[in-house]
Amino acid sequence: MKILVAVKRVIDYNVQIRVKEDGSGVHTDNVKMSTNPPDDNAVEESVKLKESGKVKEIVAISIGEDKAQESIRKALAVGADKGIHVKADSYIEPLGIAKILKKIVEKEKPDMVFLGKQAIDDDCNQTGQMLGAMLNWPQATFSSKLNIKEKSLEVVREIDEGLETLEINLPAIVTCDLRLNEPRFASLPNIMKAKKKPMELLNAKDMGVDLKNRIEQLKVEEPPKRKAGIKVTSVAELVSKLKNEAKVI
């Protein structure tokens, strides 16, 4: 079997985000970037499946500027076999990304597409679902446990009410939750070997899909600062404040 795993380069989760003064976006210059954390889980799970002998080939794909290749190289260093970089110089909405991924799926013919459940920069949580719809494939989102069978997948999903177990037919889309696994470290020799693994270079413009963004971004601003808390002296005071000031009960 073959897995296509999608990775996105985002601002590192430890970095404190700074909003641009003119509200046009956030600062990315000289900011540490990393692979989107749930995408690391998607890569890790594919590598585990490959190690168990159930999967033969892993193709890692990233869509974005040249430096997106760093995320692909990282996937190659932990066990992916081949990379595809689709160069895009400007922001593409999840719909456009899903369209590009569909083209790649038609060409690469994987049995499964693994993605992170959402990206920590825009938190859209849409690409996997849109891709599933366009390909008309079954999808399991927020997966925290995977069990691969002959022609199907058993997936445990993290949902609001608890855990849900599904069985879906292959080929399928899986979006991965952080609980799925703990991503491994890339070793030095594997980082070096990864530099020699094949990477196909494509351009988003040449994919033959409509990439026009549908959403107009009006303004980006920081969330309002939290007000300092107060100490109350009695339960009665608390209840009164909740009732009369906060008006929540």
Binding site: D12, N14, V15, D29, N30, K32, R184, S187, P189, I191
Partner: protein, 535 residues
């Protein structure tokens, strides 16, 4: 079972200005050399923090056309000021009365982290392999005692040292020559100095702690190219230190404070002195309405040539501030660190080609302009042990009249950790509460550094004697770690000594200042620590 090993011609520990310069120069001299750099930060620049007013002398030698190659060295110094601060007053010192070493008109205001990122790109273009996120944790020796290389840290261990699922054994990197360029108080450099007695006959090393913030201010408050320094308040005349205020590009001001770690009062908190400094009437107005966007801290070298250890040993070189090449009166170390790297590369190529002994490094470095600079600078810092006023008077005579050529060399008498006086003999210091606009607490500051260390890993701040903080240091010095650590790693809670190692920004101050040298800083798991942007 033996660890996996890789063979290189040269392995460099630390992707700062010294290490990157060595790598680039090596490849320029001999493109066939296999050179790699290990870097503990998650990316090059993530652990680099510096003022920085940059003198381009060494960069001119390394990459003469750096201007056309897009080096992030752009803001020329256009104006200089020097202020003596009293509690509410300030006295502007005429710049023509400043010693020439403190004049900056040919220099540039830069972010050293960004310069390192750019140098790393140049190095990679030449074929240097750079591995960020891989800290060197151990020196390896050959049977004859010479340095064989280094090993990277095992990753994926839990707090108790047990292997987790993600466990990955460290690996060995063997080299014909290993270059240590970890920066000030490198933890392997410290071991090598001891192992090879590199500091024999030298004065004890002197350090400072530098704290830095980046502010974004309004157009009116900003004067690109302005360089300003202050001395005096809030420090007393016995404590060595001062501030820097550099107006960089993009309406940013690099603001910082340096305090000599030979201070005596265990109640002194460098972080709070820095915060308090900003409240001076002539400083406050520069930042009103502005926004603090970055914070960081790092120890620096102040000992000069009196404390400069031997920089070569069998199989290895110790360069930059891992040895201690900073020029204190200039408050600059990047250019001398880079020069020590240039000399290192020349030495290594001769060593590999002609089997010349690495000891030629000493002669070559002594003949360089960097050493001459350090020689004329040598008496400034020790003269301040007589207090601020005498220090200034002496420095004026030494630097302006004699240009550093007085026929004697003053000594550094004590190591910094010996300088603290018992708490009972020193006054407590009450610091004003932070207002959250101009002055801040440690918690909100460490948040800006982007610091993180993977949870559940061995603590990288090791105590030789775990009972000493409570049984001795707390009683005698009121546990100064609580105050000298700029990010609150150390706390005393209910008679217990707590180490919040996750917050550590790798400044190394504890390793230097702990009065009994009870704290040893070792490298944490790869990629941990701060994630500085344009520091």
């Amino acid at each position: 079972m033996a660890r996996e090993a890789m063979e290189y011609d040269v392995v460099i520990v630390g992707a700062g200005p010294a290490g990157l310069t060595t790598a680039i120069k090596l490849k320029q001299l001999d493109p066939n050399l296999n050179v790699c750099i290990l870097e503990k930060g998650a990316e090059v620049g993530a652990h680099v923090l510096s003022g920085n007013v940059f003198e381009t002398k060494a960069l001119d030698e390394l990459i003469p056309n750096w201007k056309n190659e897009g080096a992030p060295v752009k803001t020329k110094v256009s104006k200089e000021k020097f202020l003596f601060l009293g509690k509410n007053s300030s006295l502007s010192w005429p710049t023509w009365l400043l010693p020439s070493v403190q004049k900056n008109h040919k220099n540039y205001i830069i972010s050293l982290a960004n310069l390192c990122r750019w140098l790393a790109e140049q190095a990679e273009k030449l074929g240097v392999e750079i591995f960020p996120g891989f800290p060197a944790s151990e020196v390896l020796y050959n049977d004859d005692g010479s340095v064989k290389g280094v090993a990277t840290l095992d990753m994926g261990l839990d707090k108790e040292g047990n292997k987790k699922d993600t466990y990955q054994e460290g690996m060995e990197l063997h080299a014909k020559v290993t270059v240590f360029s970890e920066g000030c108080r490198g933890h392997l450099g410290k071991q090598l100095i001891k192992q090879f007695n590199l500091d024999e006959g030298k004065n004890p090393q002197q350090y400072g702690i530098g704290l830095k913030e980046i502010w974004e201010v309004s157009e009116e408050q900003h004067q690109e190219g302005l360089v300003m320094h202050t001395a005096g308040w809030p420090l007393d005349s016995k404590t060595y230190g001062g501030s820097f205020i550099y107006h960089a590009e993009n309406r940013q001001i690099y603001l910082g404070y340096v305090i000599g770690l030979d201070y005596q009062n265990p109640y002194l908190s460098p972080f709070d002195e820095f915060q308090r400094f900003k409240t001076h009437p002539s400083i406050r107005k520069m930042f009103e309405g502005g926004k603090r966007i970055s914070f960081g801290a790092r120890a620096l070298i102040e000992g000069g040539i009196q404390s400069l250890p031997k920089m070569y040993m069998p199989g290895a070189l110790l360069i930059g501030c891992d040895a201690g090449t900073l020029n204190m009166p200039k408050i600059k170390g990047s250019h001398t660190a880079m020069k020590s790297g240039l000399v290192a590369a020349e030495t290594i190529v001769e060593n590999i080609k002609n089997k010349t002994d690495l000891s030629i490094y000493e002669k070559k470095f002594k003949e360089s302009w960097a050493y001459k600079e350090l020689y004329t600078a040598r008496n400034v810092k020790p003269s301040f042990s007589w207090g601020l006023i005498l220090g200034i008077v002496f420095t004026g005579i030494d630097q302006i009249l004699f240009r550093g050529r007085m026929p004697f060399t003053l000594k550094h008498k004590h190591a910094d950790h010996e300088a603290l006086k018992p708490a009972s003999q020193m006054p407590k210091i009450e610091y004003p509460k932070p207002d959250g606009k101009l002055t801040f607490d440690k918690t909100s500051s460490v948040y800006l550094t982007g610091t993180n260390h993977t949870e559940n890993q061995p603590v990288h701040l090791r105590l030789k004697d775990p009972n000493l903080p409570i049984n001795y240091t707390l009683k005698k010095y009121d546990e100064p770690a609580v105050r000298y650590c700029p990010v609150g790693v150390y706390e005393i809670q209910k008679e217990k000594f707590i180490i919040n190692s996750q917050n550590c920004i790798h400044c190394k101050t504890c390793d230097i200042k702990e009065p009994s040298q009870n704290i040893t800083w070792v490298v944490p798991e790869g990629g941990g620590g701060p994630k500085y942007g344009n520091m």
